[in-house]
Amino acid sequence: MATPGAPLVAPVPLVWRLVTVVEVVDETPHARTLALDVPDWPGHVAGQHLDVRLTAEDGYVAERSYSIASAPEDARVALTVERIDDGEVSPYLAGELVVGDQFEVRGPVGGHFTWRAQDGGPLLLVAGGSGLVPLMAMVRHRAARASGAATELLVSSREREAVLYRDELERLASAEDGLNVVYTLTRSRPAGWSGYARRVDAPMLAEVGPAASASPRVFVCGPTPFVEAVADALVSLGHAAENVHTERFGPTGG
């Protein structure tokens, strides 16, 4: 645990930077990764996010937060945005934008919901839907630094097609370097599915582990109701509140 009040990341000048989209990758039918060229990128810590600012021609401005998906070691900064159908910003970022388009970001920000290889393990990462994004930055960072920290990643998704970074996660898990990935599909399952098929609950968390007695650092991210439910279940299993880090993405049906 860090000393209370000690900064985990250096202060950053909160300037808006004009970024350019250099690559667009469809991750799922509803989510898209944007690789960005960010001038004077100060570097980031896995788990941090950016504020995105869009300005319409009539001067109307919209701001939203997006977690950084890429590891600090990656050459490019990447965001992954899930499209909310009646949303104002996400359909633009995950639909309208093409390579070469520009928008503004500021950050990286946030020093609480972060993990660095030197923080060590064991780790329990629990993701609901697009809440996987900042946890993926941690998993990628872990791999880039060959950290070997014992890590359980529990991914909750509506269906298999909606799971972000599926192939990459399979590849990372197959390295057998201490990362274990477990899925639960809450809405529909492919034939022969042998993984979990319900919302994350205390018995599932107990099975996945690590147990509270191992004092894992726990990171939970996703829609607000998901995070509330998982955090309550973790506390009921005896995890100390100060080991449980949460990041709520806001309202959603998922």
Binding site: A56, Y60, Y92, E96, Q102, E104
Partner: protein
């Protein structure tokens, strides 16, 4: 002005609205956004009461059943949130503040409205009288959802919507004006949407 983002637009405004019903700086929404300064309380109705108290002769209090036994009014009004959305033609049922103040004598000119969860907002008494304000428990014919202030909220449609305290439990009449939660934090003491009184000094 920051550089603009190609192809990004605000949500298209509704076209079928009468512009004379939309106060300056507002836009019309179809949905009903949920805004809140704190967690949603879930009071038990058999422990719920509504009271008129403070600088009054004859403080009064009603249980849930008693409130529902008072004369009810159903009415349709437009509501205006200081965060700039306006919702037209919302239909509510409840008890007018006139009915609640009937038989309560007071010299006080101000009201501190208070609610479960500790929220307060201040309104001049005359802005709650003469058919200008209600304690409502029904929206569009359905019991008011907790997220929107149920079991009951104040409704003062001619002022910005933060004055229409959710989860309202009582009116405290005060001789001096006592700024409430948002009024203390920088929002306008009165909050007339037609004069765009959003912040201190507006």
């Amino acid at each position: 002005m920051p550089p603009f983002s190609r192809g990004f637009h605000r949500r298209p405004p509704r076209e079928d609205v009468d512009p004379s019903r939309v106060p300056p700086g507002q836009y019309v929404v179809n949905d009903f956004p949920v805004l809140s300064a704190g967690p949603t309380p879930r009071p038990k109705l058999d422990e719920w009461s509504f009271s008129v108290q403070g600088a009054v002769d004859g403080a009064a209090s009603w249980t849930w059943e008693e409130l529902n036994a008072l004369p009810q009014e159903t009415f349709t009004v437009d509501i205006h949130c200081v965060t700039k959305w306006t919702k037209l033609g919302t239909t509510w049922t409840g008890v007018s503040v006139d009915t609640l103040m009937d038989g309560v004598a007071t010299e006080a000119e101000y009201v501190s409205v208070w609610a479960d969860g500790g929220y307060t907002t201040n309104v001049p008494l005359e802005d709650l009288r003469d058919g200008k304000a209600w304690v409502v428990h029904t929206f569009d014919g359905e019991p008011l959802e907790p997220a929107h202030g149920g079991p009951a909220r104040l409704l003062v449609p001619h002022l910005y919507f933060w004055k229409s305290a959710k989860w309202v439990r009582g009116l405290t009449l005060t001789v001096e004006d006592e700024p409430g939660f948002w009024e203390n934090a920088g929002y306008n003491n009165y909050g007339d949407p037609w004069r765009e009184q959003r912040y201190w000094g507006d």
